[in-house]
Symmetry: C2
Subunit: 569 residues, 2 copies
């Protein structure tokens, strides 16, 4: 089975690495002398991997560890997978590679060249499993490609990727310190650092990483309700008066993902309102200015109106970086109103929170330190692999107060360690995925300044795009002025529409332009960018830049591609 | 930087792999002729990886892709990480390695031998990042170790691990077909297969993978509410009468994770009741028999009682595999009552659902086909890496009806593909992590029979443990008879307590035995098993077997270890 045995080439593949020479490993060597029989040390350098030729056609999952003699096939199988993955990584950054190879659902379901999605009773060989891995990547979308602009989350950060590989190898969860000691502490330190960047005194407060911005926002509504009406936890919503929530009529970023969600009206605060028993009718939408920013006077008017109707205003969501326009609501003015009327202020910084890392751009979130809670998704603007979303809370203890099901549990702890590090009681989840490690590792590897540079670069790139098209023939901007975030919203007007008088016919035709261009983009696989309508504005392109691989040449390419595909529409 | 260039050893490290010879790749070769300029093919075999000696002390994250000339350092960095991970994997299955190397929070926070958790403004070298990766694993817990029995989720499945590595490399999410075409279809096919195993006609229905059993159970309550009181979605809970939910007084498995959660009374249905606005007082706990199974007559009595008080019974959760006892509620009898009173029947099979894969054990879930919804966590009994939890619903369309924020969106789809494949509208989340691929790949690799063998083996092992200790000196079983699941609950009675008369003093002493033994286990790092009290029963050990690496010798080791550590207490 092994075409090349141990002796065929001992040096390059089986040699000791540089790391062995460094201090940390000398330290480990020193410590080895003190080790007892059982060891947790995994720095055994003799075990440095060596690839061999392996015939996977006669191997099955049952031959891998923990099977007897499973070690060698396990390592060889994993290395073969890594070969597939590293090739994919290389191609992802290669502009001569397509962003995607589009197929319709029925085509993939019918089976593409032997790629059969159906599951069966009998096992497949590892050879087939490896082919399935290749095919899965082949028919997927390269979200890290320099010309993938379709989502707020894009790019493929190598440190973050390494962090995810390690996280899945460690395969634990965040419930207790007992089973995730390092990750629990990393989460605690990282959340504190994020609270410092928000500007809460000494970084005090609380928080959790949650499965996405929509859930983080849901936490904020739950905590607000618990703060003002704690009896709802035990007695239900009937113990409270009719409570109302306020949020922008523009989508906040915890409900992005493709522009599709805008079309589906996927508002996370509305979803929270529905789920938590408030009812969507009690989620009041706030008017925005032409740039998509909430108008504070409208908020105050609607608060007064609600109170006059006998309802109780509870919660205001200020969006820091809306999905479509990238708008930042005026937090300070909203905070003034929240203080005046004693309302909970949440800032949804899922998309815009990353700008806190930039000395140049953080002023756009000015006032965020006055918020009671903040959603901030490092998996968006900061390029952390999916998923990584934080809910941060200024008041300590309220997260556990809201979600704990047994307040007395601290009374009689019989564990040998300090159980205040256990996080399970704060979460609505039980098994909570380890989302922290990749983020912590990226922060270590880049430093705060690395994130800052990334963010500044993305904003520069979007300004480059804005400058390029604002006066270009065939383009109309959806709103005037330099965008606040990296969102650049524009219509491409094909030559056939350029002379047409404004009116219903032109609107209807223009509405179909972006979808047609997007469909052709996907068929040709050259680039991807989102589009959507907004209010009474027909479909327009929404360009966003969060991908660290994108350069000015990719922006140029996108514009060329839109013109190439749209010219004859 | 490269100590060995291209020519030093061309064959073993840079040679073509076996896979190149198979049909699928011949096919790919044939297709290459038809390729256009842009390619999505990632089977470029020339690119097979080659390790070189790399000095990471002068390399930083900024030197990796997408940096210019970043390809080589990127691949070498990832391979160095893989070296760390494959060594960890090998050690995980090695019984001479510790399960954990326990440190208190303050010890880790103070910094262990240069392992500094603090984040800073400046970047660290990749050498330091690699050291951090090693240290993270060193101070963590090996949840795949053959002697790790602490959680319902244990083991490290190699195929699942490979699936996770691929998933994080693909770095997309489940929101739309557009950005996750393959994963969306895999989810659809796998959920159908699961519904077939539940026994719903033709596998019809709906479902989603969600971030854990607690969220899956929360979905079930939301859907039930929407089914009977759809106006709650828009008007809130005040549009409904006082609704009550019923669940076992024993923890159901969506709230496990360590036995800690039992102590914290972390009931997922109660958490859902609190979050969704029902109130925990309206979650009625059902009495159980001595084996922890809900007594159907108690359910009926409590339904009648609630109705007499003017409340409206809505929802019953039947637990299929409780956290502590592994009890299966009698689903058929509960279903009869639900039909009689027109209530929603949910089965929480988070822990027990896996038994559906076993022809020998699936009868324990008899009646599950009568449920309206089912929670089933493949990350527990089926050994899928964390996280992987499914909410399955018998009625099609109701998931989207409940969670969609804009019913009209299907009216004017302008995408080029069939948007019914988009899943975003069904979820309360927006960015939904890809939890399906690892599970799909494991199913492909093992076949249904592979899961069946795993489950049968785990149940055999727990029966081995039961037989070993049921009449052994120094042991008392918490309940009589062969356990229904792999849960074996027992007290170890140290010699000093064996002659002591039953009474408060003995109870108090016995209550402290399991925590003391557990603390010593963790300090010595040899094995991990959970303990907890239940009702009026003092702390006892709860052994569970879901780890595919565990054998009879590991069970023997656990018992020896308990006796060694507990003998002199």
């Amino acid at each position: 089975m092994e075409m090349f045995g141990d002796n065929s080439c001992p040096s390059p593949c089986n040699t000791l690495g540089f790391l062995q020479k460094n201090n940390s490993l000398e330290e480990k060597g020193r410590l080895a002398g003190q080790k007892n029989l059982l060891s947790c040390d995994n720095s055994d350098r003799d075990a440095r991997f060596r690839r061999t030729e392996t015939d996977f056609s006669n191997l099955f999952a049952r031959d891998l560890l923990p099977a007897k003699n499973g070690e060698e096939p396990t390592i060889q199988f994993l290395l073969e997978v890594v070969d597939i993955l590293t090739n994919y990584v290389k191609k992802t950054f290669d502009r001569s590679t397509k962003v995607l190879d589009f197929h319709h659902p029925h085509q993939l379901l019918e089976g593409m060249e032997g790629f059969n999605l159906e599951l069966s009773d009998q096992p497949e060989s590892l050879e087939q499993i490896l082919v399935d891995c290749r095919d899965t990547l082949k028919y997927g979308v390269r979200t890290g490609h320099p010309r993938f602009f379709n989502q707020l989350s894009s790019g493929l950060d190598i440190i973050g990727l390494a962090g995810e590989w390690l996280t899945s190898t460690a395969n634990t969860n965040m419930f207790t310190y007992e089973i995730a000691p390092v990750f629990v502490l990393m989460e605690q330190l990282t959340l504190k650092k994020m609270r410092e960047m928000i500007g809460w005194p000494s970084g005090e407060g609380d928080g959790l990483f949650s499965p996405g911005g929509a859930i983080s926002n849901m936490y904020s509504v739950m905590i607000a309700r618990y703060k003002y009406f704690p009896e709802v936890k035990t007695k239900g919503m009937s113990a409270a008066p009719r409570l109302v929530l306020f949020t922008s009529e523009h989508k906040s970023c915890s409900n992005q993902l493709s522009l599709f969600e805008s079309r589906t009206c996927h508002y996370s605060i509305k979803k929270a309102g529905a789920a938590l028993g408030f009812g969507t009718e009690n989620v009041i939408l706030l008017s925005t200015d032409e740039r998509g920013r909430v108008i504070p006077a409208d908020l105050e008017a609607k608060i007064i109106d609600a109170k006059q109707k006998g309802y109780v205003p509870l919660f205001v969501n200020a969006t820091a970086g809306s999905t479509v326009y990238g708008a930042f609501d005026p937090i300070n003015e909203i905070a003034d109103i929240c203080e005046k009327y004693n309302l909970w202020l949440h800032v949804d910084g899922a998309w815009g929170g990353g700008l806190l890392m930039s000395r140049k751009h953080r002023h756009k979130l000015s006032g965020i330190e006055r918020a009671n809670s903040v959603t901030w998704n490092p998996h968006k603007m900061m390029g952390v692999p999916l998923q990584c979303s934080a809910i941060l809370v200024r008041e300590k203890g309220i997260l556990a107060g809201c979600n704990s099901m047994c307040a007395g549990y601290l009374f009689q702890p019989d564990k040998q360690y300090d159980v205040t590090y256990d996080t399970g009681d704060k979460a609505i989840q039980c098994g909570r995925h380890v989302d922290i490690f990749k983020f912590w590792l990226m922060w270590k590897a880049k430093g705060t300044i690395g994130f800052e540079q990334h963010i500044d670069k993305c904003l520069d790139l979007s300004q480059y795009l804005y400058n390029k098209i604002k006066n270009r023939e065939g383009y109309e901007m959806v709103f005037d002025g330099v965008p606040q975030h990296t969102n650049v919203c524009f219509w491409y007007i094909p030559p056939s529409l350029r002379g047409m008088p404004h009116g219903d016919e032109r609107r209807e035709k223009l509405h179909r332009v972006a979808p047609k261009i997007k469909a052709m983009m996907m068929e040709s696989g050259t680039t991807m960018v989102g589009y959507q309508p907004q209010g009474n504005k027909v479909n327009f392109f929404r360009m966003v830049v969060s991908n660290p691989a994108a350069t000015q040449s990719d922006i140029d390419f996108l514009i060329d591609e839109i013109e190439r595909l749209g010219h004859d529409l």
